[in-house]
Amino acid sequence: MKYLQLTLLTLILIGSSCAPKPKNIPYTRTGMVKCVGHDRQTITVESEAQAGTIGKAIAYAEINAFENILFKGIPNSNQESPLVPNEYKSTSENRGFYTAFLDNGGYASYMMSTTLSDDFESNGVHLVTQKIQIDLHGLRKHLEKIGIIKSFGL
């Protein structure tokens, strides 16, 4: 009996160590963010991203959405111009802010809703489409308040 238990335990350990580990896919910004709706103060986008786990892919999609709004603008939306006019200058001068806001999840404060629209998995890679509604007005006000962007005017 003891021998049987030991064998079973060994087999379980071997089995779990042979299970495929999630692929470590780093975050890369893409342009795969499109506007699916907006009103005066919010914008709703669908953002695509891929990662080794679904959780990471969702996080990457959210970061991708915010980076596109901040640094690139979203075509056919109420934010066609980037919120931050000069990405290079701003990220150089405000490293701490961007680390906290993008890398450490500070953007969540301006995410009104985030929903998984689609998940395609192949060879251990999850490609997700995340639908995110963002409080654009609040985000702009916050960036103006802390001096990341100028208020309207000269």
Binding site: R40, N78, Q79, E80, S81, F152, G153, L154
Partner: protein, 291 residues
């Protein structure tokens, strides 16, 4: 010795305080007014008062500026200030728009047009928004927005939707132009003309350099414009028109740059060349008359 040192420290602190105040000088912001588009021959007041869609569109535009923390000049209030009595003829009414703009002192105006569209598949509203610099006529932003089609006669709601679709993009485009102004200077216009009866003109050589007066003036503008950026619209023997002269937002001490100072500097330069002149400044337009 102690007293001298204390006096020195006091003087030093005053100097730093003055410099700090200069650094804190707030940039003068442009004033903005939303006005209705009025075709030639129509009454501005009548068009505004009878066109509810236009009033809604203008109000939504002003609301968007309010949300960005910008106070706008109220068009209706300025209209009331004008002496627009019933005795005014139709001929005069076409000048009201220019009078309102001039009286308002607004630096930028946003012209708003709203039109209802009817079709078998639904109705919608098209809004045209155009932002101009009042003095130079430079276009700052232009947007056309059409609301979605609905089987409704609630054109007021459609007008709101049309404005809401593009107003943020209009403001964002204006902000890009403002950033360009901060970087490359604000635009002024300069007209230098010769007074009637004067015995010289702009083709006269007034000094030993052999250069014509118009060339000397142009060289001065080039040297004194921000980043040497200017554009000559045209030169005749009696007038030279610079339709673009870039001026900095701040002077060398960090204070708001005054256009009147630029005009005064030109007047002094001309005086040194033996030429008297009058100058007038309206908004960002400078007119210098050589006597």
């Amino acid at each position: 010795m102690k007293l001298k040192f204390s006096l020195f420290l006091i003087l030093l602190s005053i100097c730093f305080n003055v410099d700090a105040q200069d650094d804190q000088t707030k940039t003068i912001q442009p004033t903005i007014m939303a006005i209705p588009f009025t075709p030639k021959g129509q009454s501005l007041r009548t068009n505004y008062e009878r066109n509810e869609l236009l009033r809604i569109a203008i109000t939504k535009v002003k609301e968007a500026f309010d949300e960005r923390g910008v106070n706008t000049v109220d068009f209706r209030a300025k209209l009331k200030q004008l002496n627009n009595t019933e005795a005014m003829t139709e001929d005069h009414q076409t000048d009201i728009k220019n009078d309102v703009i001039a009286l308002s002192g607004a630096d930028i105006y946003v012209e708003v047009e709203a039109n209802a569209n009817y079709s078998g598949s639904g109705n919608n509203v098209t809004v045209i928004l155009t932002a101009y610099d009042a003095s130079s006529g430079e276009s700052l932003a232009n947007k056309v927005s059409t609301s979605p089609k609905f089987n409704t006669r609630n054109f007021e709601k459609l007008t709101e939707k049309a404005v809401e679709q593009e107003i943020d993009n209009l403001l964002n485009t204006m902000q890009e132009k403002f950033l360009d102004i901060v970087e490359n200077g604000k635009t002024a216009t300069l007209t230098v003309g010769i007074e009637d009866g004067v015995d010289y003109d702009l083709d006269t050589e007034i000094d030993d350099s052999g250069d014509l007066l118009s060339d000397i003036i142009e060289d001065w503008v080039m040297d004194n414009s921000f980043k040497n950026y200017y554009h000559v619209q045209g030169v005749t023997e009696s007038k030279i028109i610079f339709d673009i002269v870039k001026l900095p937002l701040k002077d060398e001490r960090g204070r708001n740059f005054r256009i009147s100072k630029f005009a005064a500097k030109l007047k002094k330069f001309l005086q040194n060349k033996g030429i008297e002149s009058d100058r007038s400044v309206v908004g960002s337009s400078i007119i210098v008359t050589l006597k």
